[in-house]
Symmetry: C2
Subunit: 192 residues, 2 copies
């Protein structure tokens, strides 16, 4: 193993394998692999994804004793004052995709954005990397790939929902891929 090679693995505190695959596709391109790691994930209530991710990453790092990535994301719908926002995962598990469509029945202003915050905690403290993709909420759910609210989100520049795209195509647009690209840049600069 070459010097430094052991640090080319990014530990990712998540149980969501979709997120792992999405990060792998991006971080692989800058020479890093991504491994999910099981660690307590404490999320605070906040309207700021940055705050939620930073807290969670610090706690996970203190627990693991190794640098670790936490990612938090949300879907922010303009006509619903940003709902479901930081609570997207809970809202998905309760009222789900159909609940969101119901709240938007007859609503013509369907603009929304997905935002991802990657927090990377280590001896350097916490670095945050954010990515945003604007788009709109579809009239009905379409597609079966991805996860969460992917079947109703159509990014600007496409007519497909995220759930109708392969990981490679989704990563051309996605908030998470954009945040991961910034992490790539940071990792690359540190090793130069």
């Amino acid at each position: 193993m070459k010097r430094g090679e052991e640090s080319r693995v990014i530990l990712f505190a998540t149980q969501n394998m979709h997120k792992v695959e999405e990060l792998r596709a991006v971080l692989g391109s800058c020479g890093y692999s991504v491994e999910p790691v099981d660690t307590p994930k404490v999320e605070i209530q906040s309207s700021s994804l940055e705050t939620i991710a930073a807290y969670a990453a610090i706690i996970a790092y203190n627990h693991l004793g190794k640098p670790v990535v936490v990612e938090d994301a949300g879907l922010f719908i303009d006509a619903l004052k940003g709902f479901p926002g930081p609570y997207s995962s809970y809202v998905y598990r309760t009222i789900g995709v159909q609940g969101i469509l119901r709240l938007l029945e007859g609503v013509s202003e369907r603009t929304a954005y997905f935002k991802s915050v990657i927090a990377y905690a280590g001896p350097w403290g916490v670095e945050l990397f954010t990515g945003i993709v604007r788009g709109r909420i579809a009239e009905e759910a379409r597609g079966s790939q991805g996860f969460g609210f992917d079947p109703i989100f159509v990014p600007e520049g496409s007519s497909k929902t995220f759930a109708e795209m392969s990981i490679e195509e989704k990563n051309l647009y996605s908030h998470r891929a954009r945040a991961a690209s910034k992490l790539c840049e940071w990792l690359t600069e540190r090793t130069l």
Copy 2:
């Protein structure tokens, strides 16, 4: 001032004066006054109100250096898998009462419950007191008293919504008053 009298004030970490008034009405009956106190309130994400309130109370106590009460409450709607639950305040600020009514349009199973958890942190650790009131979601918003989802919640045993009741009447039913009564009992036992 009699010995012990200075401890007959309960500090309540909240900025919600409706909650202060509701607690005052109950705690006054067992000889305690309630004063709101401004302190950082850190709420974690959890499906358990107990966990959220306990964490917040410990942090507030560590910050203040004096015993302090934190209260967390939520509206749990059966047909929506418990939504909005612990995120009721956020959901109220975004999709609001009308959003909940929309999600329940045409839904005949309208049962729900309000739950309150009072966490009282001090040198004794944290004591938790819970109160629940069952009821149903009204077909439309009624009344202008109270706060939050009060205009659409009709407790079992009444035909009025919480927002159509005075504090005294609401406290005959309310989750928060029931939790506060348990706090009263605890306080009384400790001073015997």
